[in-house]
């Protein structure tokens, strides 16, 4: 078994407004998988299904080799989970919450939990309801890590935290991963944050997986190409996926094309059409993410990838 998470053909419709449709996700063991998507795209719903908190109408979910919900307790014993919204019992103090949580995990590392508590400067006797957002975020990470999980499922773990706390939280996760080679499945819409440490990325939009690939491929495959003299319509079919096309900003230097699946030899395609490729630029994850979503949305509606001079994405 090489994959920590396998979701196949998942369909789930909780209401009329939203549905997960034919969702396929593959998270290799040991990967740090960034699960990206705008708000309301279905990230948290997918995670809830993954954790067995809801039942899909169709499809299968396998976590650490065990089917969900069949092997749920075994899976959960090996999974550290940080939900989108703090879910702990508000009347407990930090110390009581740690004690309560530890009772359910045979792999609980009490010494490390105490170390983290000290490092995070979490107060022992303060009730959870009175903790700051940052302190709550740290406590959630502490609880997820100290059970020494093989898989960490983090649902927007740094959302709303200040940069210092965010750094602390992510540093703790990375330290644990480097030490244990655990798998991390982290959802976020803070794309730039994930770019630094994820090695896999999946982009979800409107309940559908737009793309799933290694971070390396993501960066290698999606390029911004500056083209001069391109005709409005090409005779030959495009040898790549065109995610966006618009006039370049500034000094009339042609058009800016965002392309997926770019190879250097494709420059010949433009030459044959009387155009010239002036520049090929890498996109960072955030730019690529935005372009991907912009192209995926109309395609979902009309069944066609948008092409058009001057079209703004």
């Amino acid at each position: 078994m090489t994959n920590a998470i396998e979701i196949r053909g998942l369909e789930w419709t909780p209401g009329e407004a939203f549905a997960l449709q034919d969702l396929n996700v593959t998270v290799p063991r040991g990967a740090i998988y960034g699960f990206l998507g705008p708000n309301g795209s279905g990230k948290t719903s997918t995670i809830r299904l993954l954790m067995g908190m809801a039942k899909p109408q169709k499809g299968s979910i396998t976590v650490l080799g065990g089917r969900v919900p069949g092997h749920l307790p075994e899976n959960l014993a090996r999974t550290g989970y940080v939900p989108e919204r703090p879910h702990l019992i508000p009347t407990l103090t930090v110390e009581e919450a740690i004690r309560f949580h530890s009772a359910f995990y045979s792999s609980w590392d009490a010494a490390w939990a105490m170390e983290m508590k000290a490092a995070f400067r979490l107060p022992d006797v303060t009730r959870i309801a009175r903790l700051s957002k940052g302190e709550t975020g740290k406590l959630l990470i502490l609880l997820a890590l100290a059970q020494r999980p093989e898989l960490l499922v983090l649902d927007e773990p740094t959302d709303g935290l200040d940069p210092v706390v965010r750094r602390d939280v992510l540093a703790a996760v990375l330290e644990y991963v480097s030490e244990t080679e655990a798998t991390v499945f982290i959802s976020s819409h803070l794309v730039h944050e994930l770019e630094r440490f994820c090695d896999w990325v999946g982009v979800l939009d409107n309940g559908r997986m737009v793309t799933e690939m290694t971070m390396e491929d993501f960066k290698k495959e999606i390029k911004r190409v500056r083209v001069v003299g391109a005709p409005a319509e090409f005779q030959a079919p495009l040898p790549f996926d065109l995610l966006g096309r618009r006039k370049s900003d500034g000094l009339g230097l042609g058009e800016s094309w965002v392309i997926r699946g770019w190879r250097d030899e494709m420059a010949a395609f433009f030459s044959e059409a009387g155009a010239e490729v002036r520049d090929v630029m890498d996109l960072d994850l955030e730019e690529g993410f935005v372009e991907l979503l912009s192209s995926a949305r109309p395609a979902n509606k009309n069944g066609a990838v948008p092409i058009g001079v001057g079209e703004e994405v």
Partner: protein, 231 residues
């Protein structure tokens, strides 16, 4: 694990339990209060016995009411934070759901012992303050046992209802109201239609209460004898 569950549920319910515990401790004193007030006056044994029985009967209705309240309040309180957190935390814990529910129910049942013990101590203390005439007896332990059974029964019913969603609870309630309505209206109507006098006089609610509140009905324990001092 159970110890932690017990602790967490104690923290969740302690402020709700406190007034019930105080009421459970105080109620037996109220049940013998008029006797104690009057005991300085010269009375015959018969007069005193009658007074004691009246006083005990006067307050007897409050014991089952308190048992119902204790069971219901505790059942609602132990589910409170689960509902507030949309059950996310319990569902993320690595144990089968039936086991979690069973542990929670067990913890609630143990916590019910708090008002039960308070009632027992209160009853023992209250009857020790009264001079009971010949022919009458105090039943502090029997009353406490009846209280325990009633509270557990109510706890179990409300616990099961509160375990579901609000939608489930509303559905059950609506189904009940519908059943009572149909049970009250339909048999007399059909009795008139078909000319069957026994059906015409049938009242569902009365029948249901009779069936459940008298032996061997499950709620008989609530309707039985709740006298602290009796013959």
């Amino acid at each position: 694990m159970f110890k932690q569950m017990l602790f967490v549920n104690w923290k969740a319910s302690r402020f709700g339990l406190l007034p019930i515990m105080m009421a459970a401790f105080g109620l037996p004193f109220l049940a013998v209060k008029s006797v104690r007030l009057g005991r300085m006056l010269p009375r015959s044994d018969l007069q005193r016995g009658t007074e004691i029985l009246f006083s005990s009967a006067e307050w007897a209705q409050l014991f089952p009411a308190l048992a119902v309240a204790a069971g219901a309040v505790l059942a609602l309180l132990v589910w409170n934070w689960d509902h507030r957190g949309n059950h996310v935390y319990p569902l993320s814990l690595p144990l089968p759901r039936w086991k979690y529910v069973l542990m929670k129910m067990g913890a609630g049942a143990v916590l019910l012992l708090v008002p039960v013990v308070a009632l027992w101590l209160g009853s023992l203390l209250a009857v020790s303050l009264v001079e009971i005439p010949d022919g009458l007896r105090a039943y502090p332990t029997a009353l406490t046992f009846r209280f325990l059974l009633s509270a557990l029964l109510c706890f179990a019913i409300v616990f099961a209802m509160a375990a579901g969603t609000m939608r489930t609870a509303v559905l059950i309630l609506v189904a009940w109201i519908l059943l009572i309505f149909l049970g009250e209206v339909l048999p007399p109507f059909l009795g008139q239609l078909w000319g069957i006098p026994s059906l015409e006089g049938f009242r569902f609610l009365q029948w249901f209460l009779d069936a459940t509140m008298s032996w061997p009905g499950p709620f008989e324990v609530l309707a039985g004898n709740w006298m602290l001092i009796d013959v």
